[in-house]
Amino acid sequence: MADAAALGPARGTIDLVLRGRTRDVRGRLFQGALLMTLLVSLGVLLVLLWTTWNAAQPVFAERGLGFVSSDTSSLSSRAGVHQGLVGSLILVAFVAAVALPLGIAAAIYLQEYARDTRANRLLVTNIRNLAGVPSIVYGILGLVVFVQALRGLTGPDSYGRSFISGGLTLAVLVMPIVILISMESLRAVPAGIREAAYGVGATRWEVIRSHVLPYAAPGMFTGMILALARAFGETAPLLLVGAVTGYLNTPGGRNPLEVLQGQYTSLPTLIFSWAREPGEDWKAMTAAAIVVLLVAILAVNAIAIVLRNRYERKW
């Protein structure tokens, strides 16, 4: 708290004197208990990372990067995460291409254009509720709309269970989050910045493009990175829109559209299907795949946190 910081170390001394030089034992215990709760969370996180790394180590020691470059296989000694990693990257690129522009545009409308009417407030409430809908429900939506109803477009030869279906489902899932984060970044830009631009005769769009967006960009960018990391690790909805949980054959020599309309899998989907296999060898494989997933996600999260700390502004 700021008030504690302002007083600095003197606070403890003053406190002690005022209380007749008796230490506030119960207060200390309470503070210790609170700190404990945070340390428990940190502890679980560390145990998770440590045990996973330990379980994964034999796989990396034995196969090295061959684990990352091999395709799916029913033999644990030959299986690898290559298809899952590539699949996840394609899905995230798809999500970025669909959900980011739509989400940012919606946020600009709601924050900069929309008047404070009942209908617009309902629209924002609706988006907040959408952000809280369980991800598996989005999976059912994707199954009904993208896999079944739009099969002809999303994947005529793969029964609709394609990259396009998976990517669109994740895009729909991430869009409310993108809107909420973008709105928050836009809201943080002070009115004076806008008024300066209006004062010299800029139209509303010109104000947004030249003044508001540049100031909101760092915050938005951080939020987008976290949203895409979320899409990268998302598993449940993909089970419904047909990410392959077993062996996947990816024939070469296809054009990009054929790839996008073809069968797919993702890194988290592989982790899920391997975690269900019996046997210690698959446990190690699962742990190794988790290490690959966590390295990607934690690196991206760290970048986001560093960017935020560097560019965050207090007005």
Partner: protein, 312 residues
């Protein structure tokens, strides 16, 4: 002062070029369409779930919704089995997430120095970034054998609601902590200073002043956490035993089915043609139930959040 001809001409100039105005309208319409797309998503969710669920309900004998277990392949769809399983996992999760989440929130907002915050906040943010499938694996390979089976040595099953609930709770901690911390942060400083001014201890201020003042936001954080715990899928699919069927049970040390677990195992079930059959259709009904429950919780928590905003 008389209005010269020059002045009225300059007012016309302020209207702006027609091309500029046209561009302005086009941009606005584009953004508006994007905003309305969010409404389309909601409509699509409700229509898809309700349409399929009703179609399924008309094809079954409603008596099969009450029985003593969830056995979709045998045509036994006892929804209560799934609800009980879901409530057990969510209840256990909240037993973990409430103390850990609220404790973290109070510490961060009332005690932590700015430097401590910079160190501790990323811990919660990192935890929030861990995919749920990873915690599912952690529950299956670490929490169940190393914690649950050691505490309850008579039970040696590979799956349990207890392990799944604990892992879901850990997943829920960052959400509870961040919403509750926002609520505590919104409490005006004057309230704290008034309490300090009459000699209150730090712990007294936290327990008797800040916490009660932020109570509606704290309730909101717990409701949101509960909603998240109910909707969590991958942990229960991996660690609670997703065989696709289960007897109704209140035993937290055994495995079983939850709403989300049932949906995911129906979705990946390979012993039937996907997309057809009565068993598969139950997925839409369970999905609708899940949506209604979580949506209601989210609306209630939004109410509580709004109360905080209005108060300060």
């Amino acid at each position: 002062m008389g209005r010269g001809p020059g002045l009225s001409a300059s007012i016309d100039l302020l209207v702006g070029a027609p091309g500029r105005r046209r561009k302005e309208r086009a941009v606005r319409a584009l953004f508006r369409t994007a905003a309305l797309a969010s409404l389309a998503i909601s409509v699509a969710i409700v229509a898809a779930l309700a349409g399929r669920a009703v179609a399924w309900l008309t094809r079954i004998d409603l008596g099969v919704l009450w029985g003593d277990g969830w056995f979709p392949r045998q045509g036994e769809f006892d929804v209560l089995t799934l609800v009980v399983g879901t409530l057990m996992v969510a209840g256990l999760a909240m037993l973990v997430a409430t103390p850990l989440g609220l404790g973290a929130a109070v510490y961060l907002s009332e005690y932590a120095s700015p430097r401590m915050r910079r160190v501790l906040k990323p811990v919660l943010e990192t935890l929030a970034g861990i995919p749920s499938v990873v915690l599912g694996y952690f529950a299956l390979t670490v929490i169940q054998p190393e914690l649950v089976q050691r505490l309850f040595t008579t039970r040696t099953g590979a799956f349990s609601f207890l392990a799944a609930g604990f892992a879901v709770g850990i997943l829920t901690v960052p959400l509870v902590a961040s919403v509750a911390e926002d609520a505590l942060f919104a409490v005006p400083r004057a309230l704290r200073e008034a309490a300090y001014g009459i000699g209150a201890r730090r712990s007294t201020v936290a327990i008797r002043v800040t916490f009660p003042a932020a109570i509606s936001g704290i309730v909101a954080s717990l409701i949101l956490g509960l909603s998240r715990a109910i909707g969590e899928t991958m942990v229960v699919a991996i660690a609670a035993g997703a065989t696709g069927q289960a007897q109704r049970t209140f035993d937290v040390l055994g495995g079983g089915q939850t709403m989300t677990g049932a949906i995911s195992s129906l979705a990946i079930g390979s012993d039937q043609v996907k997309g057809s059959g009565l068993a598969f259709g139950s997925l839409y009904f369970v999905g609708l139930l899940l949506f209604v429950v979580t949506f209601t919780l989210n609306v209630v928590s939004e109410r509580y959040v709004r109360r905080v905003r209005r108060a300060y």
